[in-house]
């Protein structure tokens, strides 16, 4: 079990800046995030879209903002646990014991939830029977592509993941691509490619269609798709893949005894602590009178939450307020040599 001053859940801009604020006041922290990369919604939802309301940054993209924050916290050598989700949080004496889904354990006086609107999970098919085949012959992500060799695979979706996999798998499998409309959102190059593969008979494309039902004993044997004009068509297929992007779910956080109001966590505005001593919530996931879901608000909340952590991490010390411009201690922590 690793002992740390604070554990941050969520590697979005708010979590990253909070790590910076903890580092400045001499507290160490580690960050857990369910996604496979750093940046949260900024990277997952709008890496290339512009943001215009970061103070003193007239314009930047989600990716640029993330890159700059990563650069800013570099001096603190923060450990990230990506692709990992906090499952269990329990209190033993004055410390929180935190367990992830990969069985990592932390002991810490402070947990900072910077989880945005929850953890990202794949969006699923709507027919109920799909659940039965999940991870057997129906997948929302691919771990081992060789299982599809020589089989028929039906892919649903119109974005980059759907088309990239359709192209890739068409080398060794029979591929059907099903999408709810004629236009694809994937990169033009991929769209051209699948049309070319369709002409060569390597991919069958069914647009204006959605999944209606699935049949099969243990594994999928066939599916029925429904056209916009209500007509049904049965397709024989061994595998079904769905690429409908990600949805945010609050996940295990609901079981931690926090006051939750409409998927957000109630906090005080002095240090953004929740009703549980030593658990803080900052960024989009917290709520209080006047809450604005802006990145800049998340930065402010993180700065105050970090100071709130200090009294639990260093109960015998007093925190002195200092400016980075003049504080020797802060500059040392930032690794600045003069």
């Amino acid at each position: 079990m690793k002992k740390i001053d604070a554990l941050i859940i969520g590697a979005g801009p708010t979590g990253l800046f909070c790590a910076h604020q903890l580092g400045l006041i001499g507290l160490n922290c580690e960050i857990v995030d369910n996604l496979d990369k750093i940046g949260g919604q900024c990277i997952e939802l709008y890496p290339d879209k512009p943001i215009y309301d970061i103070p003193a940054v007239p314009e930047c993209t989600g990716k640029q903002l993330t890159d700059n924050l990563i650069e800013q916290i570099k001096p603190f050598n923060i450990n990230f646990h990506l692709n990992e989700r906090v499952e269990v949080v329990k209190k033993i004496n004055d410390k929180w014991i935190v367990k992830t889904n990969k069985d990592k354990e932390f002991e810490t006086p402070n947990i900072i939830i910077a989880g945005g609107v929850g953890s990202f999970e794949p969006r699923k098919f709507s027919p109920k029977e799909c659940e039965k085949y999940e991870n057997k012959s129906l997948y929302y992500s691919i771990k081992d592509k060789t299982i599809f060799d020589g089989k028929t695979v039906t892919i649903f979706g119109g974005g980059d993941s759907a088309l990239d996999w359709a192209i890739e798998l068409s080398n060794k499998s029979k591929v059907n691509l099903v999408h709810r409309r004629d236009e694809f959102t994937a990169a033009q190059l991929s769209v051209d490619k699948i049309k070319e593969l369709e002409k060569l008979g390597k991919i069958k494309i069914f647009t204006k269609n959605q999944l209606n039902s699935v049949k099969g004993e243990k594994n999928i044997e066939s599916i029925t798709i429904k056209h916009d004009d209500e007509s049904l068509k049965e397709i024989q297929t061994n595998y079904v893949l769905g690429f409908f992007g990600l949805i945010m779910k609050l996940g295990p956080i609901v079981d931690w005894g926090l006051n939750i109001d409409k998927k957000t966590i109630e906090v005080n505005t002095e240090n953004f602590e929740t009703n549980q001593k030593g658990i803080f919530a900052i960024g989009d996931i917290c709520t209080y009178p006047g809450k604005l879901k802006l990145i800049l608000s998340g930065f402010h909340e993180g700065a105050l939450a970090a100071r709130g952590c200090f009294k639990y991490a260093r109960p015998d010390e007093k925190l002195r307020f200092e400016f980075t411009t003049t504080s020797k201690a802060a500059q040392e922590r930032l690794g600045i040599k003069k």
């Binding site: 709008y46 609107v117 959102t185 959605q210 992007g245 945010m248 989009d284």
Partner: protein, 106 residues
């Protein structure tokens, strides 16, 4: 101001006065109408404020902007009359608009 009617998937109907300038999504969220999650807060980045617009109203609404149709690809059971309610801004002309909420948002 417009009267907007929200119909739940199980049939329950609620009619609310929503001020001009707010979105159909905000009208629902501010009045505790369940089933419109609006996770991203109106940024057209999540498709969890998806609604079905009653047919006679569908053509009267402002057309979809780039991006809305892309997000609807991600919605739960999208249909021809699907819209993101965060993109429907209330004006007097929308008085009487009726939207149905899908059985879930994702």
């Amino acid at each position: 101001m417009a009267k907007i009617t929200y119909i739940q998937s199980e049939g329950k109907s609620q009619t609310i006065d929503v001020s001009n300038g707010l979105s159909v999504m905000e009208g629902a969220v501010q009045n505790d109408i369940s089933g419109i999650d609006a996770d991203c807060g109106g940024g057209m980045a999540c498709a969890t404020c998806h609604v079905y617009v009653q047919d006679e109203w569908f053509d009267k609404l402002p057309t979809k902007e780039d991006g809305e149709e892309d997000m609807l690809d991600m919605a739960f059971e999208p249909k021809k009359n699907s819209r993101l309610s965060c993109q429907l801004i209330i004006t007097d002309e929308l008085d009487g608009l009726t939207v149905s909420i899908p059985s879930k948002q994702g």
